[in-house]
Amino acid sequence: MRHILPALAIALLTACETTPITPMQGYEDMQTLAPEESRLWYSAAELDQQLQKSGSLYKDEDLRAYLEAVMHKLYPEYDGAITVRIVDSPSLNAFALPNGSIYINTGMLSRLENEAQVATVLAHEGVHFTNKHSWKQRRNVKNTTAFSTGFGMVIGIPGLGDLISLSSIYGYSKDLEREADADGFRRLQAAGYDVSQAPVTFEFLLAEVEALDIDEPYFFSTHPALEDRINNFRELARQQASVNGYKGAEAYRSHVDKLQLELLADYLELSQQQSVLLILERQGAFDRYPPSAWYYLGEAYRLRNEAGDTERSVKAYQTAIEQSPGFAPSYRALGLYYMKNNDSLQAENYFSKYLELQPDAQDRDYIEYYRTSLKSGE
């Protein structure tokens, strides 16, 4: 039945193509929906629930409140009715549902450098909602099967494919994306953000996409393509006399510190060391990351294991210890390094320091086993 309902709704929606679709002007307009739009909203609410139940949302209410505050700065006339939720997925993505639910992935948040950049993404997605792009796009959709295929993979949560055929978030037209860029840019400017950050948001993402040789992340995969979008924003920024708006690097960093480190750990857990290297080898990365990130850089070198990586990893662990002496994993990493190089004394020193700092370490049994082996000379 669940599979039939979307098809029925699509049929109903496509049969009512005469209603003019005009952008909303504010919160009041959210209270008066056309019947077709109400159905879209209902389906979007169902998708919201599915996402909640899937366990795929990142739980950090402070960060979420901060992002909603940014959204409120951008869209004050909506009185906070546009919600922002965070998807716990390393893929680079953000998307809007027709009912004003905006989703942004942890992978995307971890790459951004300041509030102006996250505002660029949120402003763009907000336009998709306020200008009813889902509904407009729905009328133009010719192949709803292709439309829904692979949605779960696209947003980074597999297995949520069905309802998306109603929510019209897959593949906006070139014109709608341009509209979202331009209107989003105006929102940025009106909210007082440094608009020079808008193209930067996409530039380093493009660099990562090219380096990893992956398909363009979904947020950018529709028209215009990523490079076109960068050019759009450069041109929009160039037309502004002043770009000295609010950047908000400190404010942003204070909210995403924890998430950034967790994501580095996630990438390493999945042996995706290349992503960690791309993030941490970027110029100025350690201005944005806490010193313990040196440990993750060391781990990424160790896992990559190319010529010279062992030396690089040791240096990174040592830097982590110098700059963040209370961070236990760096000691373990050096203990393992010295054990492999038959330096029992150094290995024991680092292992004992590790367990002293983290007596309840999850890998304590391994470390104790290694220490015993070192003592017995095995």
Partner: protein, 184 residues
């Protein structure tokens, strides 16, 4: 028409016994040996030999499954594109094995919970023992235990998984006895 003919041929091939088949382990066939290892199989269980290794189950693979795999050091962990080596530490092997598992079960990633991760004696060497829990897409809670070890030839992995409720603990001792009988 062409499809029908192909289907008939496939069915005939399957019926003629060219495909791997399940065989019941009886008391005389418990000692299993190949070029890499030997192991004592549990009597009364069904076994299936495939290119990917040996598979065992008592009541059907949805209720419990044990797999025994040997992989050479090159391209050992296919999903995460990593090799193993004879000098790898047990904790490093455990880390890669968990990463490989996560990479192959992407949809269960958020619910994967590691309950135990420690060194264990396996095949006369020291390997790893990881016990983890996850929920399938259908919402079924599953437990999995995997033990692995390396030697000069390659990587040996013994995995046991079953629904958390009732089945996992019921057959866990059988799995443990199996792993203890491994000889490299």
């Amino acid at each position: 028409m062409k499809i029908t003919a192909v289907t008939i041929v496939l069915v005939l091939v399957l019926l003629s016994g060219c495909a791997p088949t399940w065989v019941k382990v009886d008391n005389t066939g418990r000692n299993y040996r190949n070029e890499h290892y030997s192991i004592t199989l549990p009597a009364g269980w069904m076994r299936l030999e495939s290119d990917d290794g040996l598979i065992l189950s008592k009541d059907g693979i949805l209720l419990q499954i044990i797999s025994i795999q040997f992989r050479p050091h090159k391209d050992t962990f296919e999903k995460i594109k990593k090799d193993s080596s004879a000098t790898m530490l047990p904790s490093e092997l455990a880390q890669l094995s968990i990463a490989e598992l996560k990479a192959s079960q992407e949809d269960n990633l958020p619910s994967l919970e590691i309950l135990h991760n420690a060194p264990v004696g396996l095949g006369g060497r020291t390997g790893f023992d990881v016990h983890l829990r996850y929920k399938t897409k259908a919402g079924l809670r599953m437990d999995m235990e995997m033990r692995g070890v390396v030697d000069n030839s390659g990587f040996y992995l013994l995995k046991y998984s079953a629904p958390t409720l009732h089945y996992f603990e019921r057959d866990r001792q059988t799995y443990e006895a199996l792993t203890e009988s491994l000889q490299l």
